[in-house]
């Protein structure tokens, strides 16, 4: 991690790139040509006659073959040299990326593209691209790690110097979060993440043990008979510490619910229907509703509990709708 001073210096260095062209304007290696158009259309599955059939194109509003507008970037792509990577920087964009990689921002992820095409190109034209580093965001914490969004903007011009289209491309250059640790013994199959287990103490472990025995228990005061859930060590009605439990029928009514969609923790299947259930014994319990479309969940719906067992053997009571 960078010290605050180093961080400041680093940010000044990267900010100096904003507004810089990555290289002098670069003409396309080839003119717009029919063989490349045909290959692109083959690859993309585009069969529009104005790109491929010169007779049909001649009769169209274009009066002849034109190139697919979305090919604009293809005319000026670097080709296989792109695969050499940025270790030996060949332009300002590579230099910026290397600077960030060296500071620990080793990850790179394309995030989004915006583009606009002003007109069709015709075979024989030759475009020139000019790419500028348009923006570097403040540092952002993202799901994959902390980093900066870098936006480059490319504009293409024709031989007359008229702009024919532009493309804005954004990447995230980031410090990857710690990768998942490999299994410690190297050979064993890593176990699937599982739900957080209830911490067990003297006041609740018995409840989970009864669940493991297939029951849905409700604590009962031995002295005055008052039921209580969640369990506690003393009766709030009479102060007695002695207790036993009854087994709930598991029949209940949905009192409230939430459809949990985010954040998605490992070990759970999302969305989760988290439910507050009024048991017919008069106690209320938090659980999940399963075997139910989230759109069908309604307050007041009838539910029945059952004991679910996870792959790792952990058991817990869940509810499903009563048909």
């Amino acid at each position: 991690m960078l010290t605050p001073e180093k961080k400041k210096e680093f940010e000044e260095q990267i900010r100096a790139y904003v507004g810089k062209p990555i290289s002098p304007p670069t003409p396309a290696r080839d003119e717009v040509n029919e063989p490349m158009i045909r290959q692109w259309c083959d690859a993309m599955g585009d069969e529009l006659p104005i790109y491929l059939d010169s007779d049909a194109a001649a009769k169209s509003v274009h009066g002849g073959l034109v190139a697919p507008p979305a090919m604009l970037q293809a005319w000026t792509m670097e080709g296989f040299s792109m695969h050499e990577g940025y270790d030996v920087p060949r332009n300002e964009e590579h230099r910026l990326h290397k600077l960030m990689t060296d500071a620990g921002y080793t990850g790179v992820l394309g995030t989004d593209i915006e583009q606009e095409f002003h007109r069709y190109l015709r075979p024989g034209e030759r475009v020139t691209v000019n790419t500028v580093i348009a923006d570097i965001s403040p540092e952002k914490a993202t799901g994959v790690g902390t980093g900066y969004f870098i936006t480059t903007r490319s504009t293409w011009t024709d031989e007359a110097g008229e702009e024919v289209g532009w493309l804005s491309f954004r990447v995230l250059k980031f410090i990857p979060k710690d990768p998942p640790k490999p299994a410690s013994d190297g050979g064993a199959v890593q176990s699937k993440p599982s739900r957080i287990k209830p911490p067990r103490g003297q006041d609740n472990a018995w409840w989970w043990d009864e669940v493991a025995n297939g029951k849905l228990p409700i604590q009962r005061c031995k002295s005055c008979g008052k039921l209580r859930h969640p369990p506690r060590p003393i009766c709030d009605a009479c102060g007695a510490t002695g207790w036993d439990f009854i087994e709930s029928t598991g029949r209940g009514t949905l009192h409230s619910f939430t459809i949990i969609r985010y954040p998605q923790f490992p070990g759970y299947e999302f969305p989760i229907i988290a439910a507050l259930v009024d048991l017919e014994e008069g106690q209320r319990i938090v659980s999940n509703v399963v075997d139910c479309d989230p759109a069908d969940v309604k307050i007041g719906m009838k539910l029945q509990s059952f004991i679910h067992e996870d792959e790792d053997g952990f058991k817990l009571p869940l509810f499903r709708p009563v048909a």
């Binding site: 605050p4 619910f257 939430t258 759970y268």
Partner: protein, 385 residues
């Protein structure tokens, strides 16, 4: 507790998503800011109070700033529910003479460091850990998921809609637009933006939920007498309370017969109204703890600004805006300014009395400030000296 203590200093750090410094550094910057704002020297401070969950120990803050001798050291539990609790502690201390100048602080790297809702685990079995055990296995790990259960039931009982929650988000954002310290400074939010934002845990969307912030905020409390000699106009404490209610749990008071109201907040309000001799009609502006939008509707009801279930009608037509029925969260709140666990809300309450809010309404005499919702909480009424 009426006219026996006053807020005489406010300090805050920059609010950001990545402070790049330790929580102790943030705490020190905020505390020193409050001391200087009051026109005091660090050596004059003799009391500190903070959140139980704050990572910056009182003695570490004292050592770093050269505070000298301390005669009040205290902590308040229950997260944001403790925000007003700090002022409660400080006010009692200066009123009884336990200390002369008390600084209440909260500092956290709430975005870049430990974030909320990561689940709870540990080897030491406490009653708190057992409490969370009833929710963690069911995927209920975040404050949003716990609040969503109450919000869903509230909608069911009173017919509140997503648009009603949206009114809170959109109007609160209107205030943040003018606050250069706010996360959403100059960033408007429309109802379309709100309704288009993603679900977090239904019925809560992204913009129903507050910020996660790195930052610190501190409040200096002394007696109104001493405050007269200090640099800033005092915000006198006309009433301050802590309150927990029958059936209270930490964020999961799901087992009360009716869970669509906030009885602990009603109790907190009743106490400060009694202490001050004021009522809802005397309150010119409010700072209601807005970790989640539905909580604002429910608090309007708890503090008697409207009847039960009428929060949704109260917020219509800009009810919470600077020029509305009850200017609320004029700094942008936890939703749109920052989440310093509600201590930033107390700072804005004091600014409203000073007349220095970025969205200062006309003629503010009394401001009501609440702390965290769904936990043991508190309320504060501030007035002019």
């Amino acid at each position: 507790m009426n006219n026996e203590a006053a807020i005489a200093g406010i300090g805050q750090t920059k609010y950001s998503k990545n402070s790049g410094v330790s929580e102790l550094a943030l705490a020190c910057e905020a505390v020193l800011g409050a001391i200087r704002d009051a026109g005091l020297e660090p050596s004059q401070v003799d009391g500190l109070t903070t959140f139980l969950m704050d990572s910056s120990d009182e003695v570490e803050v004292a050592r770093a700033l050269g505070l000298g001798d301390l005669t009040l050291l205290s902590r308040v539990a229950y997260g944001g529910g403790g925000a007003v609790g700090l002022i409660h502690q400080a006010a009692m201390a200066v009123a009884t003479g336990a200390a002369k100048y008390v600084v209440a602080y909260r500092a956290l790297n709430g975005r870049s460091g430990q974030r909320m809702g990561q689940g709870v685990s540990g080897d030491i079995i406490t009653s708190d850990l057992i409490h969370w055990s009833w929710y963690m296995p069911y995927g209920m790990l975040t404050p949003a998921s716990w609040v969503a259960l109450a919000a869903q039931r509230y909608m069911h009982e009173y017919g509140a809609t997503h648009e009603d929650f949206g009114e809170v988000a959109v109007q609160t954002r209107q205030h943040a637009i003018n606050n250069p310290n706010a996360a959403f400074y100059q960033t408007p939010l429309t109802m379309e933006d709100y309704l288009g934002s993603k679900w977090v845990t239904e019925p809560l969307r992204l913009f129903d939920c507050c910020q996660e912030t790195d930052g610190g905020c501190a409040i200096l409390v002394t007696t109104p007498e001493r405050a007269k000699d200090l640099k800033q106009p005092a915000a006198v404490i006309r009433g301050v309370s802590q309150a927990s209610f029958d059936g209270q749990e930490q964020m999961t008071s799901f087992y009360r017969e009716d869970m669509s109201w906030l009885p602990e907040m009603e109790l907190a309000g009743k106490i400060v109204y009694e202490q001050s001799g004021l009522g809802p009609k005397d309150i010119d502006a409010s700072i209601l703890y807005d970790a989640f939008t539905p909580e604002v509707l429910m608090q309007l009801e708890a503090f008697g600004f409207c009847g039960k279930g009428e929060g949704k009608d109260f917020v219509k037509d800009g009810g919470l805006l600077r020029g509305g029925k009850l200017p609320n969260n004029t700094h942008g709140g936890l939703l749109s300014e920052s989440y310093i666990h509600g201590v930033n809300n107390i700072a804005e309450g004091a600014r409203l009395i000073r007349g220095t809010s970025y969205n200062q309404p006309e003629g503010v005499e009394h401001v009501l400030v609440s702390s965290g919702v769904g936990v043991p909480t508190g309320a504060l009424i501030l007035g002019k000296a």
